[in-house]
Symmetry: C2
Subunit: 328 residues, 2 copies
Amino acid sequence: MRIALDGMGGDFAPKEAVHGAVLAVKEYGVHVTITGPMEKIQEELDQYDYDKSRIDVLDAREVITLNESPVMAIRRKKDSSLRKAMDLVKEGKADAVVSAGSTGAILAGGLLVVGRIKGVDRAALGALMPGKNGHFMVIDLGANADVKPQNLVEFAKMGTVYFKALKDTSNPKVGLINIGAEEEKGNELTKAAYGLLKEEESINFIGNVEPRDITSGDVEILVCDGFTGNVVLKMYEGVVKNLMSMIKEAMMSTTKGKIGGLLVKPSLKEFMLKNDYKEEGGAVLLGVDGIVVKAHGTSDARAFKNAVRQAKSFYDRKYLEHFKENLK
Amino acid sequence: MRIALDGMGGDFAPKEAVHGAVLAVKEYGVHVTITGPMEKIQEELDQYDYDKSRIDVLDAREVITLNESPVMAIRRKKDSSLRKAMDLVKEGKADAVVSAGSTGAILAGGLLVVGRIKGVDRAALGALMPGKNGHFMVIDLGANADVKPQNLVEFAKMGTVYFKALKDTSNPKVGLINIGAEEEKGNELTKAAYGLLKEEESINFIGNVEPRDITSGDVEILVCDGFTGNVVLKMYEGVVKNLMSMIKEAMMSTTKGKIGGLLVKPSLKEFMLKNDYKEEGGAVLLGVDGIVVKAHGTSDARAFKNAVRQAKSFYDRKYLEHFKENLK
């Protein structure tokens, strides 16, 4: 399998991206083309021992920053690392693109370069997250801040295929993120979407899911507009981070707590690792005609490696083919 | 100060509400009128030793359930515990109402019985929550699922007065909950609201706040539509609950962890207490012409007591008078 990796995406580019590519090549036997300034990327690569036939660099002199219009940037910066990685997929020279660049630019690249799948109205971001009783997936995580009710049905259908491609679940449950359990609860969007979701026969819709139940993981696929999904994602990240640091502080405030803290450290570490989004890879742009994985902006080498693993599992499981088959 | 307490609101009514009233009377020296079926309330009261001159019961034979239209219920069930508690405030026979009933019914009661303050377009729910570096307040927590951009400015103004009334902060920071830090990020609502908030001189607007930063508590007042606010609130609750139970499980999985767990238990307990929403009291319905505190549906006696404390601090600090003064 051939991966196009945006060497300049993310907060720690190109260092972590390049290191991630080296790890991925070793572990998954894929081929990676890293896009970015040739000498910079090569300088990073030179620090590692790797199979030279499995990594090459495609020179790209421009970088898309967070402060520019994503659509304009993708259109005009034809020599940017992200655009060139997208081009490789479009031209059939790569099977998937992985980038830790800005959500907006990846969305624009997915839509304008890779292209939407015929019959899909809106592409959306979905990602697996670790929950108490299993993994769950929220879609849309932020590609579409404003949506129409019927878009949520499309998200549910895309999410169902996605989930089946990643996990061996035959009939994943779909829930609508809402502020009440009853059908008539919610805002204009969720009230209208509820009826449409209920009628859709190709999904296993189980009704509204209140945000306090999302992270239990009892419902596999959770649909919402991209604004709400992004709030859910970032609340999850923020609360976990703040809570863990507050718990550590609380432990460190007494001698008994300090000793106990040392003893529970290995369990907590294992727990943190199990619940680290970096283990999951990234979010996937669903609805575009190619495998596009958006790694977290703060991705380290391990997170990049896992994003490649995720792209590979989509590829191996023929996710796109299933997806298109299902749309018919 | 005279409190009207809805004796039949909440999951553990009337037991916990009555017990909470007894605790509040002892600790704060307030007078409480409990509304509900006379004999049921009295039966609960008989279990406690309390100053009989400080608690009385107002007979109310009806109960508003979660399954009925809040507006219809408030209008028609004139003999319900919630309606009668609201009536006491309206008639000037109580200074505040406390209820753990449904959000919808309390909102309807606040608007239809107590009444909106002249000049306020939308009443909204706000509540203090414990954050890493201090308390923060989200408004609206769910009274208005759909709002117009200018409503968020009103929420910001109401929140500023509210925060000043509860905490000794002269110029609390106001943030707009949004899915990006930059001004141009967000959905149609937040994009339009940003400019309006920036122009409003009576508030200390500091820009967008991403959900991952909400629980740090660095920004005191966070405004959003009621759908988003409710998602934020319930995600916070859900993640904390799931995370704590997962951490406990992780600790219990090894012998070292078990011993360590015993040692850190007191610190964790103190931490949980410090971060328990039950300590904060409840949410306040801002914009109505009376003090209306909505306690959590799962409130126990302590939570009811704290909701009374919150109502009392509004009363003592002349929150309503300041509020109306500020509106001019």
